[in-house]
Assembly symmetry: C2
Homo-oligomer: 362 residues x 2
């Protein structure tokens, strides 16, 4: 993907940390933010990793990211809380919200936290997976700015609104399903753009709502399509799932929802008449032993996972994958061999370094 040699994980982690410290984050927040961000690069979700670092800095420059937020619970019950992220980095706010969910799960079996007044939280998996080491299932979702047209709609009403569910196993690695509720997310379009290829049917539509195969169509006012693509292929289900994420993340918390979610690029104006605060997330933790002894559950998960691994693969396919397999394999590879970045991303990181007067040793 790049002529530039792969960069060690630690170099990128330390650089991202230095950037977050430089814009005013505490040591603790800078470390959390960098770790959350780099988790995307490690897991192969390149669109959500250091490629976005300059975007976070620009949001801070225009005052939309508060580097020293007072992240606080504004309402709670034994199993629930609403957190006000105080315009902090979602990369940090979601981690703190998940800590609250986990501590509620420790007390009453499960914990559920809806978050308002936050920003982009990176990949959902990094937050959901915090639950695993506690023998809990973890759930993370977030809304996002409107790029997706519901079934039968010209207008873009929802974000790619991802859902992650992580479940611990025993001898097998954990089950981690992390999915945008669209047929394909933006990162997949970018790959096709670079390769000068068309999109398959059911990924995008143009500004008038006609089916399109142009991976550049979003820049021309087009839209991503919900998982399923069109009505005949179940797009009303992908739309419903994206809507559920919006309701959990924003309607329960008081964040902005639907087409009013603020955009990630700092130069795009925030929609008028905001009905809520910032963007919304939803984090959940369920103690496995609130249902069954953890050892029993994990033995069943191992049996479940082995069943899928042993399913007969289609002709031409090597094996049936379990959700989380490709990302875990990528992480193992990148921790050893480093992370390859596109020249345009490296250039972008170097310009961040220059702007903030930081060394960039890569």
């Amino acid at each position: 993907m790049s002529d530039h040699p792969a960069i060690p994980y630690n170099s990128l982690l330390l650089f991202a940390e230095s950037v977050f410290r430089k814009i005013g984050c505490s040591e603790e927040h800078a470390a959390l933010a960098a770790e959350s961000l780099l988790a995307a690069d490690l897991r192969g979700v390149d669109s959500h990793g250091v490629a976005r670092l300059s975007g976070y800095v620009r949001l801070w420059e225009v005052g939309r990211v508060n580097a020293q937020p007072n992240i606080r619970v504004i309402h709670e019950t034994p199993s629930t809380a609403v957190v006000d992220g105080d315009s902090g980095l979602g990369l940090v706010v979601a981690r703190k919200a998940m800590e609250i969910a986990i501590s509620k799960a420790e007390a009453v079996g499960t914990g559920w936290v809806s978050v308002q007044n936050s920003n982009h939280f990176g990949i959902a998996a990094v937050h959901a997976m915090m639950a695993l080491e506690k023998d809990m299932m973890g759930i993370a979702m977030t809304n996002a700015s409107p790029l997706v047209a519901p079934t039968f709609s010209i207008d873009k009403m929802l974000g790619t609104n991802p859902i992650c569910v992580a479940a611990p196993a025993g001898a097998e690695p954990a089950f981690v399903a992390d999915l945008a509720t669209t047929t394909a997310a933006n990162g997949k379009l970018e790959i096709l753009q670079r390769k000068n290829l068309q999109t398959p049917d059911g990924w995008v539509q143009d500004i008038e709502g006609n089916p399109s195969n142009d991976p550049h169509i979003l820049k021309q006012g087009g839209a991503l399509l919900p998982l399923g693509g069109d009505r005949d292929h179940g797009s009303h289900k992908g739309y419903a799932l994206g809507a559920v994420v919006d309701i959990f993340s924003a309607l329960l918390s008081g964040a902005n929802y639907a087409p009013w979610v603020p955009p990630f690029p700092a130069y795009v104006p925030i929609p008028a008449q905001q009905p809520g605060k910032g963007i919304g997330h939803f984090l959940g933790a369920m103690r496995v032993d609130a249902f069954r002894p953890a050892a029993e559950f994990k033995a069943s998960m191992d049996h479940w996972i082995q069943g899928f691994r042993n399913a007969r693969p289609l002709p031409g396919q090597e094996k049936v994958l379990v959700p989380g397999d490709p990302e875990r394999e990528m992480q193992q590879e990148r921790l050893v061999n480093g992370i390859s970045l596109l020249p345009v991303v490296i250039k972008d990181l170097k310009s961040v370094a220059e702007k903030l007067n930081l060394p960039a040793d890569f």
Copy 2:
């Protein structure tokens, strides 16, 4: 759809109730089971309504349904419970489990109940929607016998594993998303069979895993496909969602999972080496005011819903729908005009009446 005049809802409800009483259900259980079953017919999910009544009776005949179950909590925390359905009708067991979820939500904000040792529960929506009148969000899911091949798999490893999420609104009707995690469920195949039409791409594959457009292919060893259809169109996401439903419903409860879930037709043998008990469900209830004042939440839901209704429809489409709209409109129509049944379903109901020596006044 039928030359037979539409049958009033109440006639079918009373008939189903009489059938459930006749096989030994208590008055209360018979009423609950009939109401759960008929909710499918009212909402237009004809494959899950009275068309299945004879199937439930056959499961009772072979001893796989216990008409007088001792439905009981076998493990709990303040926000969770595991329920043993004692081989009862899922139509009743899931209602009882949802009552427990609601009562836990009243106490600690949310309630989550995983169910083992149950049977087919009808449509997910009827259980999830119980939460609405309490100003709670309701969640219902169930696993089901293996008809679905995961991405890259020849083997059928999952059921159609539906998810329902219901959220109360204020002036607007409630949001109710109820979806199988496949591109299309069995009922849609049956409609195409009757019309002698092919399926769209991405619905089914044949016994060797080749793409197929034959709506009869399941009878020849074929499989339904996860939402998305194939890898290029996101089937790994539909697969992951179906897997999540299986984990919540069966791995947390100790029910059977993956290809070991017992089949609905009584004549199909139960898989050998069952790892759990019966089939599994998962029910959740979240008090809206565990997050925000209910009036605020419901006002936001109204605003959200109106936003989607006012989105510009695609050329040739009348309007953008909100999840739950088509089913609610069908219910309003069928409560007034009655329920049209296919001749084959009427014949089946009459033969149940004859077998159990019950009047069938329709």
